[in-house]
Symmetry: D2
Subunit: 471 residues, 4 copies
């Protein structure tokens, strides 16, 4: 769940907002800490105290913020952001929230997701004289709002209508906190409430538990929320309810979110456990032990174990090396067998037929490495079971899945891949199986674009850009 070098997929962001509590910055700090798994590269908090004030930097939440910094951020409303990627370069310039200082007042914006028409909009805005300080999509919303007229809510809705893609936006003004979720429902965003009555917003509900807030409801696809003086108002930015669908990212359930979060009312751990059960039903294996790859596959592995009756054991241990100060082994030491990330537990694995449950395969190198680790530790057979369908297409909605070329399932079918990772058998859950696990038989469709290639939105120049930026 906490991504590190093992991780091959990266969510780009988590957002948190609060309005009407004197400890706004400190509660945002805790909220962002609970969302840390959604982005470890940078963090920022923008607080309202008459005007808006900001502090942001590269690193973990605990590295960017000291107690002194939090104390300086006194105020009664705040938005915060954790960010995975510094992709696009520019370091601190791309760290969110963004704070726009205008002669009419201050505006802070942060964003989880990815706009597919950002470049189209940027070109148009630059042609009109706008100038951008970052490569971030997020800045585009600020410029659109600035160039629209009327009441703020109208300017915001008009601007959102110009955007296409995946987003959960928080916008902080001196006069209120706004939140918006894209009309496809691709990225999650939930509303909670503190005992004091103050409202909070977060990408995942686990951020509510840490601060003692109660879950109220999810922001709906296409909905815009305004929080001011303890009351919530709601409208939809879309022209018609027919424009709205519900395609929450399937990988939020299987990979990104924390097991204790609920997405659209469904507990993530429970969904994963059901996926493990379905995975067993679809692809049973004769084996002695079920082992999950830590951390995000443990729920699915227990589901597989319960359904199969094969005992679940902790056969792989992740070493908890924390932070960028950890001294990595030299190439020489790596060749000599020094392994930092995972250890296989010999006494559990030795002489056993193992079902190894993992959440996904992206490039295939990690799976190959873990199979080898288990066999070196004495496993007689390793049957790999993956709790997500094969990822064959890139994501343009805020997940960093690499280019087509790098996706091994784009190049190989299951049999070839099984050979490549040197497993004794390999199976992925089916798209239907995953949908059923998450939402039951009659659930809405999840976004499964990266498995099927059927994208929820138009793609504009995203395909080209994704492949070009990699070079």
């Amino acid at each position: 769940m906490i991504s590190n070098d093992l991780a091959e997929l990266h969510e780009e962001c988590g957002v948190f907002g609060i309005y009407g509590d004197p400890n706004a910055a400190r509660l945002t700090y805790y909220g962002l800490h609970a969302l840390q798994h959604r982005g470890q590269e940078a963090a920022g908090i923008c607080v309202k105290r008459h005007h808006l004030h900001i502090h942001k930097g590269e690193g973990l939440v605990t590295e960017v913020f000291s107690a002194d910094k939090i104390d300086e951020l006194a105020g009664d409303a705040a938005i915060g952001h954790v960010r995975y990627s510094t992709a696009g370069g520019g370091g601190i310039l791309n760290v969110q929230p963004f704070l726009f200082k205008t002669l009419d007042g201050d505006m802070g914006i942060c964003h989880n997701g990815n706009l597919v028409n950002a470049n189209v909009l940027k070109r148009k805005l630059e042609d009109q004289g706008s100038i951008f300080n970052s490569q971030s999509d997020t800045e585009v919303l600020g410029h659109l709002i600035k160039r629209n007229y009327g009441h703020f809510i109208d300017r915001l809705c008009a601007s959102l209508r110009e955007l296409d893609g995946a987003f959960a936006f928080l916008v902080l003004l001196e006069s209120g906190l706004y939140a918006a979720r894209d009309k496809y429902g691709l990225r999650p965003l939930s509303i909670g409430q503190l005992p004091s009555g103050a409202y909070v917003l977060a990408s995942e509900t686990c951020a509510f538990d840490i601060i003692g807030a109660k879950f109220v409801r999810d922001v709906l696809p296409g909905e815009v929320i305004r929080i001011r003086k303890g009351e919530i108002k709601s409208c939809f930015y879309t022209r018609s309810p027919k424009d709205v669908s519900d395609h929450l990212c399937a990988m939020e359930y299987i990979y990104f979110s924390r097991p204790d979060s609920n997405l659209e009312g469904i507990n993530v751990h429970a969904a994963r456990k059901r996926a493990g059960k379905v995975l067993f039903e679809e692809s049973p294996a004769e084996a002695d032990v079920v082992i999950g790859v830590p951390d995000s596959s443990l729920s699915a592995a227990t589901g597989y174990a319960e359904a199969s009756g094969i005992p679940y054991e902790m056969g792989l241990i992740k070493n908890k090396y924390v932070g960028r100060t950890f001294i990595q082994p030299t190439q020489e030491l790596r060749e000599l067998g020094v392994r930092m990330k995972l250890s296989a537990v010999h006494s559990i694995v030795q002489g056993k037929r193992v079902v190894m449950v993992d959440d996904s395969i992206v490039r295939g190198t990690t799976s190959k490495r873990i199979v080898a680790l288990l066999k070196e530790a004495g496993a007689t057979e390793v049957h790999v079971r993956i709790a997500s369908p094969a990822i064959k297409f890139p994501c343009f909605y805020g997940v960093d899945t690499s280019t087509l070329e790098e996706l091994i399932s784009h190049r190989m079918d299951v049999d070839a891949l099984c050979d490549y990772i040197q497993a004794d058998s390999l199976a992925f859950i089916s798209v239907e199986g995953l949908s059923k696990s998450v939402r039951g038989e009659n659930g809405d469709a999840l976004c499964c674009s990266c498995f099927t290639g059927d994208y929820v939105t138009k793609l504009y120049d995203s395909f080209d850009k994704a492949n070009k930026d990699r070079k």
Copy 2:
């Protein structure tokens, strides 16, 4: 397993040693990292490069050592130490290893355990003119060696015979690496070997896996090992084999050690899982879910779940706030319900009868807090099952169990304690059940002093000192 504010028991140390590898300091760094759960307050490495060189400091291994510092510690043999406690004060002075500079050459010493006759020996040595720079027991061994005569091995054995209590010592000279384990076998110490042939020593075998070393054997109770130029020699410091017993600390199995370590050939996770099974057999409960308190109780909880057929769920999530830079909630926020350490997962717990499996109860406050957390999250019943017997007596062998007064099981029987923590039922595993879980029906006796009050050694003035030092 990684102790933090949830932990009420603390192991005081972990040791690691290596002889005959050009990457000695770096491998020791990785070894100590794997042993970090045994002590997070301070760390040190002493390396041999002609003379001995040392670096040590307060903090985690990754905080004390930078890549530059490790590079400065070039050499082909090393000993290292992680330390929990700065008890006794003095900060950096008590951090190990100790490096003694004598006109005859250098000697580095580090130590896991606690001597029960340290004060008796210190008084005698001071009367003879010795002067101590720390409150550590460990320094005593250095002084005794200095005052004995003959070959080094004879001086070491003569000195060890004067010591009483629990210890695993590593002693590094310019001419070899020595290791010794107390004659009761109270503290663990294992021997491993790298592919290059170099030998390593560690408190737990998990430190071997990370560096690609193979387990060779445990150091035996009363044994002294000398490693030099790729060969091991062994002798016993005791006068007779009859002086030797095998009383490894029971809490090493149930609490301190990492689940992937093997102690005396027994995998810790497997032992814990068996304890969970026995715990169910001894104290079944009618319930809907089994939940383990993270991290060290997860193995026992899966054992309980498998034996009972009740599903195992992740109903409690530990927030991974790392390091001393985390900003703690103010008293005001704590009262408002901000909870940093554990979150209960509402969707799993709500409306359920819960079996909550934990590894131990010391002061009772943590258990009380977790029961409350589960009930607030909607649990209808909470049945607490503890995978260790009730701790009624202090430990004098290197575990920081507090004074008699602080041990709640010294003051209350099980019923009273069940009321105090507001559980619906409470049961501890029996001493016999624990022994059987760990070592099978005919196993040697573990050290169960803290459960039974039958101490393995004489106590000298330890009882008085323990209670006085607390004040």
Copy 3:
């Protein structure tokens, strides 16, 4: 010279640029280090390596940049900035250089000075849809350039013509380095050349000495310079040579610049020494010793001593506490006489009539404190001589001189001020005396606005803004 708590005046910035050297970032680091006295609050470097890359942060140059960060900033051209003030709030947002990412390419800008019509321009630009990320004047230039058309040099000149006030700008493109100096010559900017032929630009020539560059010439008032592939091109942004004057800030000579810098060909130390001589001629004193207030008054004090024949002594010592980590004395300790900043040397001062030479009086509190210090140390008389005229008006050209109300010479004449600081006599150098000291009998006029209130430019809303922002 190095400002600290003693300092009552603050220059806001120093700039450095280089084009065509493979060590661009590292040389900029050294250049900024030499300019550190011009700004200690923040620093940044923007480097060209195909695109532009940036790193900036709050703190001293040595705090903001590590060797790793400099190595990451590989490239062959760079601009850098040190900044005094975080006035206006926003912390990191206002740190320069600014990097603008446009679809046409990147543009980095940094700036020493202050625009008097910034707000007028911002309002106009916002009305046209621009959005600002900082309170900095510097961003305005970026927006103007973006909104002009044609060759870059034409866009730059057209934009500069819209600006009024004091500035020395550096603008880095992927295709060249541009520099511009305001048409009044208020802020200094010099050109140097490395042995390799690469050109460098800096606010002060002391930045050339540290990197082994030779002084070439000053950028002229109203001049725009383009550096590309080792050659310099020059033009003037003003419509006519008559628009150009030469009013370099007088306080650059007497206070801000390093004594080893040359401004318009005149050595700063030598100018200060001449000012000390003139000060004696205008206001002699009968005394036993001449003492300078460290650091910036030492040159003037030796001038006064030489002219008067009274011996110069080190009667005041500045304690070199460096950085923000220094632990300040508590109020209690301050009252008990703990004095961190200056010590009077008893053995030098005791029983003596002292001439105390200082560079300026702003609020008067520091002077009062130093007179008291000297008297406590046994001085029988203290004659204060100030090497600048009385500062009676605020500066709007980049010096942070506070509001009218805070300027004690705005409220008091010399006699009243002499009483206030409890000196035995007090004299300031005359405006004519200072001009003569700096530039000789027939020199051009310096900018003496803060002494005379005759401002070199229109003021727009600066007066109101300066007083409002203080509140």
Copy 4:
């Protein structure tokens, strides 16, 4: 004065002590800060609060101590130490003060100076079973005190009688603060008093000024002082007054001490200025400007200027790069002329005949470099005048002067050295001239061992050891 890479001589230590003030640690922090020029490698403070508590580390005072650390060191008496050298290796182990924990109570010791018979004593103590944790001489005193019997003052005096060499010791017990100065008076130590009546001790009086303490008197050669409850008692450790002499290190006056300190009642700046005057009288030069090498030669240079009537100018500027985080120029950049430490001011030096006044020549490389710098900047002649006699012999009393071989004046006479550094003339002050400058015509003899080779003490094995340790 603040030593850095320019410095070729290093004092090893400064000490500070205080008894009977509730802000003991904080005042010690300020005192050590004022003594920072005497040692920049490490610092420590030991405080009395019932027992003794300590914090020490490598780095500047401001780096070793945070406000939190000082707050933890609550107590009413303290000793502190700054240390230049980590020579002898062992890093933190050799940092002072030393804290000895004995069953009879705690004892803290720190020390400025060097014992010439330390090895003789260590050998003897080790033969009796003592064990040393450092290579420091200082530990020896602790062991001797431990092995003597009777009242503490008797044990201390008996121990001091066994020591030979240079020392200023501070010893802190739970019951009082003791200070001792060697019988030759080689190292300075002064007594001061705070307005509250609490006594303080410091290597230099500049530490009194910063905390508002008044100078009381110097500790006398051979004297032992006890401070307890606001009263001072005094005795002599020597058997007879005839054993005592007064040979304060000459280099304390000319090089180590801060100009605002008084040593034995003589102001350091004034002594240096007189040395400059004598230097002119002994070795006049025809020249246009007098330039001092910053920082410690500025006083002598003004003396030379006043005596000669040649104007004193700031022709050399030291760049104030602070701390170990400064990024040094690569070899390539150094060759390209990047010079970090000193800049010559072209406009002052060009076309001038320069008298360059420096305080000492050790290896000659720095002088050679500065002469070259001045000539490159256009000086037509450079006449070097040195305010100390030629250093021909190593110091064994606490100054790190290197081996015989490294002392260029041991190998070359003045003419050869003048050629080597490429000066137009070179002269050193005479030993008599220096003595007269410092103490007047009839003053006691200073320790001039490093100039004359007439050592004040026996040398034991110091000569051999000094040369061996270098290898």
